[in-house]
Point group: C4
Chain length 277, copies 4
């Protein structure tokens, strides 16, 4: 996520060192000021993209949206070029996660300005939102986020098993409902029935497709109770993993064999038996 | 929440001490009687506000509602003035959480009586409901509530990260669905699509907006399974935090053998039998 | 729940002892046979009551339902009289939970047979279902059930706090939505708006009432995310309590002071310090 | 699930040993190649069955679907025969879980080819999906899956109690709503009302049946809050069980100081530093 956080500015020229501190770091006043300003610009630019799709607003403020588009694209372009100029290994930055996100968030607007048709690139333009993550890396939240994602990664295998089971389940349930229910109730083919099974099992329940026969409603009832029950499984997985992560949180390191993640009250290394400091 | 619970009455005049005991404390019979009566008055006054909006009831019992309004406003006004008179530092009370709530719960009715138009102040009038919390501070529930809110506060950072991720997710999903689905299915603009994404991800599923194209339904299925999965995250956070809170309640250490995690009410070490301090 | 499980038959007459063993106990072959038969009768009688309300079935099998009604009422009446005759303290049985349930499950049918109009007593007749609990007390499930309910009782205060908070929340949200949304979208009065808030916060989401204004949809989005988040609270409470119950499950008793619920690995009583066996 | 994993090929003939390694094992390159190919064939054959039900696709690609049907049935038939020929105890394989699934996944297609009418056997044909489980047994996921299912089995009794309680609850609630609501709102008989109660309690909320009277909506609100609350119970059960499973994985005891709960891969006691057995 942050493969260039140990980077150094690419020169000792005073303005570059200064700019590096402001743009890449957050320890100085102007560094923080830049980060907050960037966050605001990101949120506002995304908001403009989002609100532009509301036809009543577009009719009224169409010119404003276009102007904002130009301004934000310009700002982000300047920021992107500055980052490349300032950093010691531009290639590393360009290929990093944030480098790609930064490029993607200006590219469609740039193309749109010259070729007209930005409309169809709205998805890519909404990638700007990803840039918000940039701010997180500078705060105390990173530790929490990595703890959350570590819990996720640790329970990855269990989650895959669970997802596979759910997928097989909804496929079979979808096929059953397709045979049981008449097409009038919306179960016109198996893919649609599987869609219904997912809508029901996850307790979303739109109601656009709903069983009307007694047998169909009985099966649906079973599906719901099943869904109600198995929601406990991912919850159990993640909670249990988080408890574990918390246990391991202290992460004393063994001075002898460098094994980390000892339990909170550990006195000796569980791997080599030497005394922990 | 209770910044004046160490307050003393502002005089040694006998009736003021007595009134202070009744209104601010709950140890005496009349103190408890006052609290229960206040709770009843609060619930009834809120109920009157709520039922007044049912047009069939308003037509029938309009005068009754008006009378109740006068009575409750009068009662709460008297209570408010009494509290100010009795307490030693009225300014502290007025600026405290409950002081503001007490004022807000009579102000709109008072203004409404003189200016007519209380209708538009219904929200503020419904703030009366907040007064119910007043009762809690006098009971054994406070400890539990503070334990709950401590667990919440401790997991604040994790919850913010989670919320931010959810918000970014629904924004991107909303933008994608806006492009995928035709306007006929209700995805007329991105804000509405984001609204749909939230309705779906949280498994609420009104069905007022629902995808109709196969591609849209496939993406929707992914969103649902995602929502079904990530509901585990806040649950895991809070549960893990509560386990921790409980563990911290068990943090006495034995002075003899250093065993920790004794139960709250433990008198002797369960491991070596020596007396705990 | 089982205030007469230490009861003895009221005589040494051989048939009464035998009948007592069959009806009240489950250790013998016929005792188990009776229990399973009773369970079947209960389920079938409830099923008859339920299916009788389906008009197409009633037209076809109306006489069958009436006959079953007579038969089951007769059987349960005989069982009820037998229990009174056999048990040593009939008054205790009649006043016990199961005694009242047993009476309630035959009374409406009896009255219906003589006075015609059993229709309106369907709720009471559906109380028969409660009798199914009777079977549970004879099995190994009771231990599990009491563990579940102990976890519930232990977290009672926390749950009350939580429920009160939810109730205050939906009231305020209901009032806000009533003011924000036009009556056309279904928010015609505050009680209905509160109903909507509950439907949304609990992620049920019928869609019979749904916001149509942008502001209403924004508030609704907040409510959903809130509901999605606070579902973690009861889960956290119950899970944390169950972990605790599991810790306490061993329930060694102190031979000196009779304190129970020591931790699994406890060597000494935490209350009096004497050695546990 | 895998009662023949210790099987040996039924001969020392070179091609049979080779074929056994490829079909039953996954250690060699061709063994893995076969498994991945089989997985692909399973997924594709199921996809064909599923997509064939979409009428627009069937009209267009009807012949393709029929051809795929022939090809996959042929492939699975060859695989089935090969497995019987190669394995040492064919009877054990045929009677095993996977043996039955393998047979069921080709039988309907075979019959359909000769008798025409495969349409009505779609459910059995969708059993092919079950074969996907075959792949899992060859991977590291098995350990996780068995841990998940062990947690499920361990909490079986609690889950039965919970399910029984939920079932009794929805039956009573269904009966109550049937009496309270007029037939116009969809509560035309008790089975349908029970269906509604399940839809509501599990927070699915289709909205095809929804209360319209104030009393009905009040009861519905209670049901929702109840459902919102008791979803915590299965979650609590499973989570608590998973914590236990994890704890049991940490059940080595130190031979020197008797400290328990060492991590799975611990070599030395974390408390006294002595070597664990």
């Amino acid at each position: 996520m942050a493969p260039y956080h140990n980077e150094k500015p690419n020169t000792s020229a005073k303005w570059k060192v200064k700019a590096f501190q402001i743009i890449f770091e957050a320890d100085t006043f102007w560094g923080k000021f830049f980060d907050v300003g960037l966050l605001l610009a990101i949120v506002l630019s995304v908001l403009a993209v989002v609100l532009e799709t509301v036809s009543s607003l577009k009719t009224k403020y169409g010119d404003l949206f276009l102007t904002l588009e130009y301004i934000f694209t310009g700002l982000f372009l300047i920021e992107y070029i500055l980052r490349i100029v300032i950093v010691a290994k531009p290639r590393n930055y360009i290929k990093s996660f944030f480098g790609i996100v930064d490029l993607l968030s200006i590219l469609p607007s740039l193309i749109g300005i010259f070729f007209l048709g930005a409309q169809s690139m709205m998805i890519i333009r909404s990638l700007r939102l990803l840039r918000i993550f940039r701010i997180f890396k500078l705060t105390q939240y990173l530790g929490e986020a990595s703890q959350l994602s570590r819990a996720m990664i640790a329970s990855k295998n269990k989650i895959i098993i669970f997802m596979a089971t759910v997928f097989i389940l909804v496929s079979i349930l979808g096929a059953v409902m397709y045979l049981v229910e008449p097409p009038e109730s919306g179960f016109t083919n198996i893919p649609k029935s599987i869609y219904w099974a997912i809508v029901t099992l996850t307790t979303v329940g739109y109601g656009d497709i709903a069983p009307i026969t007694p047998l169909g409603q009985s099966i649906a009832s079973l599906v719901m109770i099943l869904g109600y029950g198995i929601i406990a499984v991912p919850t159990g997985i993640v909670t249990s993993e988080m408890n574990q992560q918390r246990l391991m949180k202290m992460s004393k390191s063994c001075p002898n064999c460098a094994t980390s993640q000892h339990m909170e009250n550990a006195q000796y290394c569980y791997s080599c038996g030497s005394k922990l400091k």
